[in-house]
C-alpha cells in the first residue's frame, strides 16, 4: 500500500512543477503593461525603471521564474500591483470565506445526492428512480449562477425570507452564517448533488448484482441490513473518491456563486484581479487553486487505495 501511495505522490510532483510554469507563463502573456498602470499618469521613466526593478521585470524570464518559485515556496506569492498588499495575506483572508461556502455546499450535496442515489438504485425502474434521474438531469442542465439569480428573485426579493448577499463567519454568528449560506450552498451544491446521485446509483446497482448480496439475502437477512450494511459499504468506495475530487471543483465553481451572492471570497478575488489586471493576485490565486486541486486529487487516490482492501494488502 505504501509503495502505491508513494508512487502516486511522486507523480504529483512534476504536475505541480508544470502547473507553476504554466501559471507563470500565462501571466506574462497578460495584455496591458501593469507597470504603466502603477506608475500613474506622469509615467516618470525613473519611477518605471525602479518599479521594474522591484518587480524583477528586467531579469531574464527563467531567472524571474526561479526567483518566483523560491519565494512561493516560502509562502510569498508576491504583492498586489494595485494595493501593494501581499498576495498571501489576501489569500489567507479570502480562503476561509470560500471554504465555508464549499463545506456547506458539500454537506448539502451529500445530504441530497447519497440518499437519492441509494433510493433510485434500490427502487430501480420505478417512478422514484425516474423522478430522481430527471431531477438530476435538470440539476446538470441549469447554470448555477442563473439558479442563484432566480432564488434571489423569489426568496429574497419577493418573499423576503433570506438575505440576498453577504458573508457571516460561522464561528462568530452561526445563525446569521446559516441564513446567508442556505441559498449559495443550495446553488453550488445542487449540481454536485446530481453528479453524486448518478454515481451512487450506478455504484449501488453494480454492488446489488454481486454474489455476496445474494448470499446475504439467502441467509434471510433483513433487506434493510443487506442494503445499509453490505451493499452501501461497498458502493461508497467510488463515491468517496468522487466527492473528494468534486470538492476541488467546488472551489472553482465558487467563482460564479460568489459573484451572484456578492460573497467576498476567493472567486471574487480572482475576478476582480482579472479586471484590474492585477498580475500578482491572479498568479497567486490560480496557483493556489491548482495546487489545492492537485492535492485533493492526490487525497482522492490515496483514500481509494486505503479503502480498497485489494490495494491495501497488495
Amino acid at each position: 500500500m505504501w509503495t502505491l501511495i508513494a508512487r502516486r505522490v511522486l507523480i504529483a510532483i512534476p504536475t505541480v512543477i508544470l502547473v507553476s510554469m504554466f501559471v507563470f507563463g500565462l501571466q506574462h502573456a497578460l495584455p496591458g503593461d501593469p507597470i504603466l498602470v502603477i506608475a500613474g499618469e506622469e509615467r516618470d521613466p525613473e519611477a518605471i525603471e525602479r518599479l521594474k526593478e522591484i518587480y524583477r521585470l528586467n531579469d531574464p524570464v527563467p531567472v524571474q521564474y526561479v526567483a518566483w518559485v523560491g519565494q512561493a515556496l516560502q509562502g510569498d506569492f508576491g504583492r498586489s500591483m494595485r494595493t501593494g498588499e501581499p498576495v498571501s495575506k489576501l489569500i489567507v483572508q479570502k480562503l476561509p470565506v470560500t471554504i465555508q461556502l464549499a463545506v456547506a455546499s458539500m454537506i448539502f450535496a451529500l445530504a441530497i445526492g447519497l440518499p437519492a442515489g441509494i433510493l433510485a438504485a434500490v427502487r430501480k425502474g420505478t417512478a422514484v428512480d425516474y423522478a430522481a434521474s430527471a431531477v438530476a438531469l435538470s440539476g446538470l442542465s441549469i447554470p448555477n449562477f442563473w439558479l442563484g439569480i432566480m432564488m434571489i428573485l423569489f426568496i429574497s426579493v419577493e418573499l423576503r425570507l433570506l438575505p440576498a448577499s453577504g458573508y457571516v463567519p460561522f464561528f462568530e454568528d452561526p445563525v446569521g452564517a446559516i441564513e446567508t449560506l442556505i441559498m449559495p450552498a443550495f446553488v453550488l451544491g445542487g449540481g454536485l448533488a446530481a453528479t453524486i446521485m448518478r454515481h451512487t446509483r450506478s455504484a449501488m446497482l453494480e454492488v446489488l448484482r454481486a454474489d455476496y448480496i445474494r448470499t446475504a439475502r439467502a441467509k434471510g437477512l433483513d433487506e434493510r441490513v443487506v442494503i445499509n450494511k453490505h451493499a452501501l459499504a461497498n458502493a461508497l468506495v467510488p463515491v468517496i473518491t468522487l466527492s473528494t475530487l468534486l470538492f476541488g471543483q467546488l472551489l472553482a465553481g465558487a467563482v460564479l456563486t460568489e459573484q451572484v451572492f456578492t460573497i467576498p471570497g476567493f472567486g471574487k478575488l480572482i475576478v476582480d484581479a482579472v479586471f484590474n489586471r492585477d498580475y500578482g493576485v491572479v498568479q497567486g490565486v490560480v496557483l493556489c487553486t491548482a495546487i489545492g486541486f492537485i492535492f485533493m486529487n492526490l487525497l482522492a487516490d490515496v483514500l481509494y487505495i486505503v479503502v480498497t482492501p485489494r490495494l491495501r494488502t497488495g
Binding site: V19, F22, P143, V255, V271, T289
Partner: protein, 299 residues
Amino acid sequence: MTDAQTAAPTADAAVRAAEALPPRRNRVLAKLLANRMALIGGGIVLTFVLLAVFAPLIAPYDPIKTNFLAIRRPPSELYWLGTDELGRDILSRLLHGARASLAAGVFSVFISVAIGVPVGLIAGWAGGWVDAIISRITDALLACPFLILAIAFAAVLGPSLTNAMIAIGLSAVPIFVRLARGQVIAVRNEDFVEGARAVGLPGPVILARHVAPNVLPPILVQATLTIAEAIIAEASLSFLGLGQQPPSPSWGSMLNAAKNFLDQAPWMSLFPGIAICLVVLGFNLLGDGLRDALDPKEN
C-alpha cells in the same frame, strides 16, 4: 438425413440472417430514433439551431437598437418577453443570442477535439516517453479547474466572444487527450491492429484507418456532452463580463445586466436562463442517447 443436409440449411439461415442484419451505422441510427429522450433532445437542439440561423428573419425588433421610450416594459402583446434596461426587445436579443451560445458551444468543442484527439492518439499509440510527457502536461492542465483556466485564458486573450471560445476550447483539450489516449491503448493490442501491422502497413496508416474509427464513438458522445458544458461556460464567462461584449447580445451578458434589475424587471433574468437550460438539456439528452446507441455492449 446426412450431416451435410442438416448443416446446409443452418448455414444458409445464418447467411440470410447476417444479410438481413442492417449495417452497424443504421443500427445505431435506429436505436437513436427509438430512444424518446434522445429524440426530444435532438428536437430541442434542432429547433434552437433553426431559430439561430433564421434569427434576423424571425426577430421582431433590432436586437441592438435602444429605445428610451420602452425601457423595462413587462411582457406584452407588443414585446412578447418584455424589454431590457435600454428598451431593447428581449425576444429579439434571445434569438440573436442563440447564435452566440450555439457558436460558442460548437466552435470551442471543435477546437478541443481538433487539438485533443490527435495528441491523445499519438500519446496512446507511441507510448514511452512521448506518452509520459503528454500525460504529465495533460495532468497539469486538468489540475486547473475548467472555469479558472477559462477565466485565466480569457484574461490573457482579452474579453471577447472569440477569445471566450478559444479559452473554453483550450480548457477542454485535456479531456479529449485523455479519452483518445485511453481508447487507443484499449484498441492497440486488438487482433485487427496486429493484423494490419503483420501485413506491413505503416504506423500512421494503421492509426488513421484502423484505430481512429474505433476511437470515434466515445469521442462523439463526449463532444456532444461537452457542447452542453461549453454553452454553460460561455454563458458564465459572458456573465462575468469576459465573453460577448455589449451591445451584442448573448444569454450570459443579458443575465449580467438583468441581475441589477431583479426588483424592477424580473422578466429580464427569467427568459435568458430558460433558454440556456433548454439548449443544455437538449445536448445532454442527445449525448446520453448517443452513448446508449453506440454502446457496443448493448448492440
